[in-house]
C-alpha cells in the first residue's frame, strides 16, 4: 500500500503556523548528517512528520524539532536494528555485500574508532584544564551545569561557555584529522 504523502495530509488546516515541507527537509538534513543513507533519511523524515502532525492535532508541541529529532533518532535505531537482523539472517550471503549495510552507526562507528578516540584524547589534553574538567564531568557523569559550577566556583554561564567551546574544539579536531568532515558545500 503506498504511504500517504505527509505534506498532502497536512494541508487540511493542520497547525497553520507550521511549514511542514520545511520541517521535513530539515529532518532529512539532520538524518543525513547523522549518517543515514539518502533513501532512508527521506523515509524516516516522512514518517516523523506524519507523527508530528498527528501529535500536533491533540496537543501543543513545545519544540517541533526537539521532538522530531527524538522520533527520528528512535526510528533510525529501529531501522538499523532491523537491517542488522537481516544481515545476521543471511546464510553466509557474501554475494549481497553492502546491500544491508548498517546505517545509523555509520557515523558513530567513525567516531568510536581507535583513531577518533586518539584525536579526542589529544584535543582534550590540549585544552585548558578547567574546560577539560567541565566537559569530562558533563559527558561522563552527566552532572548538571549548576553542580559543576558550584564545585568549580564558576557561574552557570561560564560552565555553559566551557562546554560549547570545548565542543567546538572537538569538532575542529575531528575535521582537521579528516574524520567526519562537514559537507558545508552542498
Amino acid at each position: 500500500m503506498p504511504r500517504p504523502d505527509a505534506l498532502q495530509i497536512a494541508r487540511d488546516g493542520d497547525s497553520p503556523g507550521t511549514d511542514w515541507t520545511m520541517v521535513q527537509s530539515r529532518l532529512i538534513g539532520y538524518l543525513r548528517a547523522r549518517g543515514a543513507r539518502a533513501d532512508l533519511a527521506e523515509d524516516i523524515a516522512q514518517e516523523t512528520v506524519l507523527r508530528l502532525i498527528a501529535i500536533s492535532r491533540t496537543k501543543e508541541i513545545g519544540s517541533v524539532f526537539a521532538l522530531g529529532f527524538r522520533i527520528a533518532d528512535n526510528l533510525l535505531v529501529d531501522q538499523h536494528r532491523a537491517e542488522s537482523r537481516y544481515a545476521d539472517a543471511g546464510e553466509g550471503g557474501e554475494g549481497e555485500e553492502g546491500q544491508w549495510q548498517t546505517t545509523a552507526p555509520s557515523l558513530d562507528r567513525v567516531l568510536d574508532s581507535r583513531r577518533a578516540i586518539e584525536v579526542f584524547q589529544r584535543c582534550l589534553n590540549r585544552m585548558p584544564a578547567l574546560r577539560r574538567e567541565v566537559l569530562v564531568r558533563r559527558r561522563l557523569r552527566n552532572e548538571s551545569c549548576r553542580a559543576i559550577g558550584e564545585d568549580l566556583a564558576l557561574s552557570g554561564k561560564a560552565v555553559e561557555k566551557h562546554i560549547t567551546r570545548g565542543l567546538v574544539d572537538l569538532r575542529r579536531a575531528m575535521e582537521k584529522a579528516g574524520i567526519d568532515p562537514a559537507g558545508w558545500h552542498e
Binding site: G29, Y30, R51, E143, L167
Partner: protein, 324 residues
Amino acid sequence: MARMMASERAEIESAAALWLERMRGPVQDSAVAARFDAWIAEDPRHVESYARMASLWQSEGLALAACATRAGNDNGGEHEDAEGGPRARAYRRWFGLVAGLASLAAAVPLAQGLFAPTHTYEAPWGTTREIALSDGSHIQLSGGSRLSVRLTPWSREADLEKGEAFFDVAHEALRGFAVEAEGARVEVLGTAFDIDVLAGGRREVRVYRGLVEVAGASGTWRLPAGTGLILDGAHVRSLEGIGGDRPGWLDGWFDAQDTRLDRLVERLNRTSRIPVVLDDPQLGELRVTGRFEMDSPQEIVETLAAIHDLSWSREEGRYRIGRP
C-alpha cells in the same frame, strides 16, 4: 553555494554547541523552544552542524577518551600512554583507594551471631523504601522489590530476590558485605552501588563509589566506580561512563539507551501509582532511547506512543498501550 567565511562558520558551530547543551534537559520553556525551532528553520547548515555536534557528544569514542583523560589527569596531568592503558591506570588508582583504612571492629558478643535474625524488607509498587541497617549502611529499595538482610559479627549478607536496590555500604575492614541476586554474587569492598534484577533473569550492577566484585556463572569481575555490568543469561556486557554518585531512579529519572519497551514499563511500574500495561507482549520488543522523568507516567506513555506510533488509553485505573 559560495565558500563560507571562517567567521560565519565559527558562529554556526558555536550556536549549534550551545543549542545542543540547552536542549539536553527534558523540559524547556516555550520561548526557548520557539527560538530553537526558529534557528533550525533559518538555514539548512544549522541543522547539519547541530546533528554532527549531537553525534560527537553522544559518541562512545568521546566517552572513552574522557575516561582515559580523567584517569591520566589524576596521576599528574598530561603524559604519554605508558604500559597499561587508561583502564589499567584507573583500576590501580581505585585499588589504592580501597586498600588500607582499618577501622575498629566493634566488640560484639559472639552469641548474638548465632541467633542473628534475617530481616526481610519489601517496598510496595509505587513507593521507594529507605532502610538503615545497624552497621550504618543505607539501602534504598525501589517499588516492587524484596530484600532480606542478615548481619552477624563476622559477615553482612543480603539477598535481592527481585527488583532494584541502591546500597550505600558503611566501610568495615573486617566484615565484607555481600549481595546475592539471582545467582550472581556481588562482594563489596566498602562502596555505593546499585543492583537491578529484571524479568528473565537479567541483572544489572552499577558502581558509584569504591570497588565491587561480581561473581556470576561465567566468571568474576572487579568493577571500579563509574562502571557496571549486565549479566543476561550467558551474555555479559560491561557498562562504562556511569555518572553521578547515585542512580537516577532515586531522583525519579530513568535513562533509556536502546532499552526494550517492556523493561522501561517494568521500571516505570515500580514507581508509578497507576500501572502501565502493554496490550500485546510483542510491543515489549520495541526499543527506546532518551531520558524519562518517572513521576510523570502519563507523559511517558504519551511520548512512547508518539515515538513508536502507538495508541494509549487510561481505563480502570491503568494506562494501556496498544497498536493504533
